[in-house]
């Protein structure tokens, strides 16, 4: 059973179309992450689900019920805002119980739920404080607590961690995942941080300009992005993109010449249903980790500008002979030095291939492997 279903949902503010037809499903208990660049409509989508924004056209179902005429407070959703949006004049206890009191829940039930939520979030000792006397992380917990006590079917989070410092963010990320396992409710989580998306999601929805670019598991998006945008957005550091040209197509694979690696023809397996022709201009995508560290051999000649050594791994930023910026990942025991010139040989079957419109043509090995594992 799907907890949340969107069918061709659209939203316009005046003449500005912000959401341009979104279809998606969140199954019960799923952790769904909306990710996309700032301004792509993530918040708007979330606000339409919880009822803060009217849907211009399309359908929204929560637990198989059409929500078009249902009040925001009766949808069985609870939202956690980026600014926490706590009531500053109330204690933590009152903040958390406000919704229940508005719904005329019996006092004993209210107390019990607040007590339990506070225990889960370890904020029992803060219950009598006001928001102004707490740290950012503590306020965040209270905001989550306010959602928990309402026992919603669907939790909605709008960039809840972006106001926290890096360390706290990592900690809260883990705690939110734990919370999800504990409560088991459906959660929809908005972020522009692809690390959050990759680490927390059961299912990622990549949005751009009010349209869904791709929906899938984190690994799916990572190994077989449907287009160049998703390929570039998922993965850190970014995938490298090189210009190329198809030389010939044979046996479900394309041979591609790349000016950056003049002495090497790439052999890239193709998807079944794509039409490609020799001579076609394409873009080759290679993730930094898919270069082989072998010195010499055919590959990409890169002069290294900067090396970031993270301990364990290192990222080398450099330029190819065709002056294309590339990032290489290397073992940091033998990292390249800046100023050095290295040859990065390419694992052909891990390369991605995109046509002029950015649509994916290739069937990379990683995708094949996950597909086999799933079967």
């Amino acid at each position: 059973m799907a907890d949340v279903v969107l069918r061709d949902v659209r939203k316009s503010f005046g003449s500005a179309d912000v959401i341009k037809g979104v279809d998606l499903e969140a199954r019960h208990g799923e952790f769904v992450v909306f990710v996309g660049p700032s301004g792509c409509g993530k918040s708007t989508l979330l606000r339409m689900i919880c009822g803060l924004e009217k849907i211009t056209s399309g359908q929204l179902l929560i637990s198989d019920e059409n929500m078009s005429e249902v009040e925001a407070s009766d949808r069985g959703t609870a939202m956690v805002f980026q600014s926490y949006a706590l009531y500053p004049h109330m204690t933590v206890r009152d903040n958390m119980s406000f919704g229940l009191r508005m719904a005329k829940t019996p006092q004993t039930v209210v107390e019990e739920r607040v007590r339990r939520a506070a225990e889960i979030l370890q904020i029992t000792h803060l219950l009598d404080r006001k928001p102004k006397d707490m740290s950012g992380g503590q306020r965040q917990r209270v905001a989550i607590g306010r959602a928990i006590v309402r026992e919603p079917k669907v939790f909605l989070f709008d960039e809840p961690l972006s106001n926290l410092d890096a360390e706290l963010r990592v900690q809260m990320r883990v705690e939110l995942s734990k919370l999800h396992n504990e409560i088991g409710a459906t959660m929809i989580y908005v972020t522009h941080d692809q690390v959050e998306a990759m680490t927390m999601a059961d299912k990622i929805v990549v949005l751009r300009d009010g349209l869904v670019e791709q929906i899938g598991s984190p690994l799916d998006l990572y190994t077989s992005p449907d287009n160049r945008f998703v390929a570039g957005f998922i993965g850190s550091p970014q995938m490298n993109f090189l210009k190329g040209q198809i030389v010939e197509v044979a046996q479900g694979a394309a041979r591609v010449s790349v000016p950056d690696a003049p002495d090497h023809l790439l052999g890239i397996p193709l998807r079944a249903d794509v039409s490609v022709a020799a001579g076609q201009q394409v873009t080759v995508g290679i993730r930094p980790e898919h270069f082989l560290g072998t010195p010499g051999g055919p590959g990409l000649e890169v002069s290294i500008d900067v090396v970031e050594n993270l301990g364990g791994i290192a990222y080398a930023y450099g330029r190819t002979v065709a002056s294309q910026d590339v990032i290489l990942k290397a073992e940091s025991e033998t990292p390249p030095q800046s100023g050095m010139s290295v040859t990065a040989s390419i694992k052909d079957e891990y390369c991605h291939l995109f046509d002029g419109n950015g649509q994916t043509l290739s069937m990379p090995a990683g995708a094949l492997r996950t597909r086999e594992a799933a079967a």
Binding site: C50, G51, L52, A72, S73, D74, T77, A78, M79, F81, Q82, S83, A85, L86, Y87, P88, H89, F98, G99, M102, A103, R146, R150
Partner: protein, 308 residues
């Protein structure tokens, strides 16, 4: 010679040392001193002088005669004084409608609709014009022969007395005129307050099921406490010192029925040359205001302590 220089040198050293040691205590006083001097000369001294004057009989020139509490005894038996005092209470109570109206107008204006800027500036308008103009406009408005009110009501067959000439209605006519700019003032205070309310918090409250009246009372109003406090203070003070509208619209009449303490004081001082008696009225008004001022200061004090 050498000894002298050395002692004077030591003295400057020691005064410098004293200053340095107590710099944190001294400097605040140094900074406050100019403002305090002005305040003392132009506020505190006149207050003392005025209270002193209230125990004398004086015509503005010539000798002052000490009369003790005579002026206050006379006030006690003065019918006009009591009328003025009661009118001041009417002002005070009815003026408290200004923050209420101001709040609702502000809530109404605090939305983003096409043309709201124009509507807002229309509501700001009475705050910008002088009280004198407000008084004149309302005097014309009430005019029984040519006034707008008469023009509107008479075709409907509603007849009404000449408001400013009716001893039972005059005060209320003036108060209504006074409420107009006062509402605008409170509205501005509330609009500023509403501006700093986090819209996400209102949305959170909506998701929590708070709507309409409950949303206003439980969530919005508590955020506007500072604005409400200031609105109350300026409104109370404004009601107690109401003067210009009375002077313009009725001069206290008819038969002193719309008089207020501030105008009665002015009347005694300027037209009857009874400086001592006028000072006694002023002193009573000052005492009444002090009740509010002390409340105001206590609140400020409590807030400051709370903030620390």
């Amino acid at each position: 010679m050498a000894e002298m220089t050395s002692t004077s040198y030591q003295r400057t050293m020691s005064t410098r040392g004293f200053y340095r040691k107590h710099k944190l205590v001294i400097m605040p006083f140094v900074f406050i001193a100019p403002a305090f001097a002005m305040f003392a000369i132009f506020v505190i001294y006149p207050i003392i002088q005025s209270v002193a004057l209230s125990f004398t009989e004086w015509q503005g020139i010539g000798p002052k005669r000490w009369v003790g509490l005579d002026n206050y005894r006379e006030l006690w038996g003065d019918r006009v004084f009591w009328t003025s005092l009661v009118n001041n209470i009417y002002w005070l109570v009815l003026f408290l409608l200004a923050p209420v109206f101001g709040l609702f107008v502000a809530l109404f204006l605090n939305q983003t609709v096409f043309g709201i800027r124009l509507v807002k500036s229309l509501f700001f308008f009475p705050f910008v014009v002088s009280q004198i103009v407000v008084g004149l406009v309302f005097a014309w408005f009430y005019d029984p022969a040519f006034g707008l009110l008469a023009t509107i009501l008479e075709p409907l067959g509603i007849s009404f007395p000449p408001i400013l000439a009716d001893e039972n209605l005059a005060t209320f006519g003036i108060i209504v005129a006074g409420l107009w700019p006062q509402t605008a003032y409170c509205m501005i205070l509330y609009l500023t307050g509403l501006n700093s309310v986090n819209p996400e918090m209102i949305e959170a409250a909506r998701l929590d099921g708070a709507k309409g009246w409950r949303l206003l009372v439980k969530i919005v109003l508590p955020q506007l406490r500072a604005a409400t406090f200031i609105a109350l203070v300026v409104t109370v003070i404004g009601a107690l010192r109401s003067f210009d509208l009375v002077a313009i619209m009725t001069e206290g009449g008819p038969y002193n029925s719309s008089n207020v303490l501030a105008y009665y004081m002015y009347d005694n001082a300027i037209f009857r040359y009874r400086m001592g008696y006028a000072s006694a009225i002023a002193t009573v008004l000052f005492a009444i205001m002090n009740v509010y001022i002390i409340w105001f200061l206590l609140r400020l004090w409590a807030n400051e302590k709370g903030a620390r």
